[in-house]
């Protein structure tokens, strides 16, 4: 990490590390006890660790001067490693809490391991830890290759990655200690949210500065999506997390929004976290890695324009479909439903564009598990966006809402689409960054593929059954006009589905563990050079 930095860069890094340590010290000292103090110590520890590392290497020899003619891939490698670490944490906790729903007696008697505290560890670990690290890592790779420019500087990629992972670690350790805002997918408390704003602005600045140095006249479509991801997530994060801390020395805060406004803001955020975190960024990934791996250009440039602007414009309206039949004004619900249905057009345009790109490369899909991951991702993207539009229709939603159908829908998107495209990208990137022609064990990739597909299908099908059963039981009336089932009868009916879901999740987790092991084995044999072409300084045109 330090060998590629110049002495001047190491000095800047050292200064930033000391500032981080001081910030942690101030947090720990002023909060004195509780979760904020622990988080202060975590920042202090990271700051001291980085300080020691940089100080120890401060006057090591300068890196070779030709480094500026090469892409800067070390941050990407670190980001991929963190992606896999968070995959193990997030998926492991996911399988564990799934098992607790089938076997609640297994809950250990400690507060920190209770279902309600572990559930946000699973969601944050997956969305922000696994998904976020994968997005940042691949965006650095894609940005450099499609711009034919090295990252604008060597320090800010590390600020982004290390700072972002500190945010994730703060968030999940906070939940375990009972510190949460309760806003779904935005549970982290106010100081962590402020920290993320700083990190995110650094990320945005780095992106724009690198784009400004590009040696290609056009900004490639993958970068539009990464840009939309960075920009809109910033907007959503700031508005949804506006809160007044109870004290500046404690973690507790109250959101400034209340009641129906809070519900609308929360689901405007919540669904657009799906849109701009879990979709836009990953479409950027798809638009780069699918053509690269299949060796085919994107099928239609026009379709990619239509789908990009369609997704950017339509998605932001749809959040209110989470609030059908609630106290939210009816017109807002109707708008959410209408735009959700219209959203199918740009979504299927993207999915169709991806699948049509594979025309002429189907033999590769058959033979190459990595490309198959991407193909399955595009198919699941199409399926889950269709399901999403369908579930947003008011009468359908009256049955599906509050049930496990929603959980099944989310996982068809996250397991089937998001995780599959991440694995496809990782299996393309890791050998390339390690100077290899393939992964250490191609057989493990093949096993991973089938475990992932089987796990996803078992999970999704069992949750469909669970959700529809719940929805029908809740609304069933007997011949006397009384409700047919008590609530707890609907809970009892879930047992077989919850067991199946745990098995499906377990298979998926096993596959991901193969991936982590395989990536480690490949990276350990790395020759230290990426196999792609070195940076050229002259534009082609």
């Amino acid at each position: 990490m330090t060998a590629a930095l110049t002495v001047a860069e190491r000095q800047i890094g050292l200064l930033l590390s000391i500032m981080l340590a001081l910030m942690g010290l101030v947090m720990a000292a002023t909060a004195r006890h509780g979760v904020m103090s622990l988080h202060g110590f975590m920042a202090l520890g990271l700051g001291i660790g980085l300080t020691l590392m940089l100080a120890g290497a401060l006057y090591d020899p300068e890196p070779p001067s030709n480094r500026l003619h090469r892409y800067y891939d070390e941050p990407t490698r670190f980001g991929i490693a963190m992606t896999l670490v968070w995959a193990m944490i997030g998926m492991g906790v996911g399988v564990w809490v799934a098992a607790l729903l089938y076997w609640p007696e297994a809950t250990p008697p400690w507060p920190a391991t209770s279902f309600g505290r572990l559930r946000p560890v699973h969601t944050t670990g997956i969305i922000f830890g696994f998904g976020g690290n994968a997005l940042i890592a691949t965006s650095f790779h894609v940005l450099q290759r499609t711009s034919r420019a090295r990252l604008a500087d060597s320090i800010s990629p590390w600020v982004v990655l290390l700072g972002y992972n500190l945010f994730c670690a703060w968030a999940v350790t906070g939940y375990l200690m009972g510190s949460t805002q309760s806003k779904e997918y935005a549970e982290a408390e106010w100081y962590a949210d402020l920290w993320l704003v700083v990190i995110w602005l650094t990320y945005f600045a780095l992106y724009l500065r690198t784009l400004a140095r590009r040696n290609e006249p056009h900004i490639y479509v993958a970068n539009w999506y990464y840009l939309a991801f960075i920009l809109v997530v910033a907007m959503l994060h700031i508005v949804n997390n506006l809160a007044l801390p109870v004290r500046f020395t404690s973690a507790e805060s109250f959101p400034v929004w209340s009641g129906v406004q809070d519900a609308m803001v929360q689901w405007w955020y919540g669904h657009n976290a799906v849109a701009f975190f879990l979709t836009a960024g990953f479409l950027g990934m798809l638009y780069y890695f699918l053509p690269v791996r299949s060796g085919r250009p994107i099928w239609s440039y026009r379709l990619s324009i239509v789908s990009f602007w369609g997704i950017t414009f339509f998605y932001i309206w749809v959040g209110s479909h989470h609030l059908h039949y609630t106290a939210l004004p009816y017109w807002a619900q109707t708008l959410g439903m209408t735009f959700s249905v219209m959203l199918l057009v740009p979504s299927w345009a993207s999915a169709g564009n991806a699948i049509a790109t594979l025309n002429g490369a189907w033999h590769k899909v058959r033979d190459d598990a990595t490309l198959r991951f991407m193909f399955v991702a595009a198919v699941f993207y199409g399926l889950s966006t269709f399901e999403g539009s369908f579930l947003a229709i008011r009468p359908v939603n009256s049955l599906s809402h509050y049930t496990d159908w929603t959980v099944g829908h989310v996982h068809s998107g996250t397991l089937g689409w998001v995780a599959m495209i991440i694995f496809g990208a990782i299996y393309t990137l890791v050998p390339q960054l390690s100077g290899k022609t393939g992964m250490a064990s191609p057989r493990a990739v093949e096993w991973h593929f089938w475990l992932a597909v089987t796990g996803t299908l078992i999970y999704v099908v069992s949750m469909w059954n669970a959700g529809i059963t719940q929805g029908l039981m809740w609304r069933a009336y007997d011949e006397n006009g009384a409700l047919s089932y008590s609530f707890v009868q609907s809970v009892e009916a879930m047992a077989p589905y919850y067991l199946l879901r745990t098995i499906g999740g377990g298979l998926f987790l096993t596959g991901a563990a193969f991936c982590a092991w395989n990536c480690r084995a490949t990276m350990r044999k790395a020759t230290g050079q990426a196999t792609d072409r070195p940076l050229v300084t002259q534009p082609v045109e």
């Binding site: 729903l101 609640p104 809950t107 008697p109 400690w110 507060p111 279902f115 309600g116 559930r119 939940y175 009972g178 510190s179 949460t180 805002q181 309760s182 779904e184 724009l208 006249p217 900004i219 539009w224 920009l231 809109v232 007044l244 109870v246 507790e252 805060s253 109250f254 209340s258 009641g259 129906v260 809070d262 609308m264 929360q266 405007w268 950017t312 414009f313 339509f314 998605y315 932001i316 309206w317 609030l323 039949y325 609630t326 939210l328 004004p329 807002a332 708008l335 735009f339 509050y402 049930t403 959980v407 809740w474 609304r475 009336y477 409700l483 609530f487 707890v488 009868q489 809970v491 879930m494």
Partner: protein
């Protein structure tokens, strides 16, 4: 159009601006009008904010992630009205920072829970859910028997007052005493609590033990307040059914 886009792709700040515009319109149209809701949805006269003890209970409800499995939003559907009670009104959660409408019913909706079960039932249920509901899959919360930390309550009430909740200075100053007073009936602290919060909120030893103020007291006080902060939903449903 295609030519226009062809040129837009060459200007990064142009793309940035276009993305911001495209992604802002929907949010502005849907969210902005809701801030005139104070003028369009009148708060019921009898709507009361949570007492300090209930507020502490609400923080425990949030801390333990109860909202992940329990909604607090009865939809306007026949079976929900039959199962839970009157549908939820926007005004009911007007004082809720944040709202806890929830998104999933692994367990039942709790919007109308207040008064449905006895305090004893709640104590038994929270310590060992399967002792009262054999088929329940809810985790047990034995640690709720520990002493409640009320140290943050005055600052919490002050913060909520700044956000527009009807807590006056006396309520802020006496928040800790009022939490104690609500859980320890017939003590001196209860008189002060009654003076500030009136006769409507119940004051009793929610966990069955008046000698200790526990997290269980706070959580049960909160659970018993659900759907009881105003009678408006019951009134509206009764008027509609006449």
């Amino acid at each position: 159009m295609l030519k226009l886009h062809y040129n837009l792709e060459k200007i990064s700040m142009g793309l940035v601006a276009a993305i911001i515009v495209a992604a802002s319109i929907g949010g502005i149209v849907e969210i902005a009008p809701l801030f005139t809701i104070d003028e369009t949805v009148e708060l019921p006269d009898d709507l009361r904010p949570h007492t300090p003890l209930e507020l502490a209970g609400r923080e425990i409800y949030i801390r333990e992630g109860c909202y992940a499995c329990h909604s607090q939003m009865v939809r306007s559907l026949a079976d929900e009205l039959d199962r839970y009670g009157p549908y939820s009104l926007a005004s009911e959660s007007a004082y809720d920072h944040p709202m806890l409408w929830g998104s999933k019913r692994t367990g039942p909706d709790l919007a109308r829970l207040g008064g449905k079960y006895s305090d004893n039932w709640h104590v038994a249920h929270l310590i060992d859910p399967r002792s009262v509901v054999p088929a329940s899959i809810m985790p047990a919360y034995p640690w709720l028997a520990r002493t409640l930390d009320t140290g943050l309550l005055p600052d919490s009430l002050a913060t909520l007052a700044r956000l527009g909740l009807p807590y006056d200075d006396a309520m802020v100053a006496a928040a800790e005493a009022d939490a104690l007073g609500q859980s320890r009936p017939d003590s001196d602290a209860t008189d002060g609590f009654r003076e500030r919060y009136g006769e409507r909120p119940p004051a009793r030893a929610f966990d069955g033990d008046p000698s200790r103020l526990t997290e269980m007291d706070a959580l049960i006080a909160y659970l018993q307040s659900l759907g009881r902060l105003t009678d408006a939903p019951y009134r509206i449903l009764a008027e509609a059914s006449q």
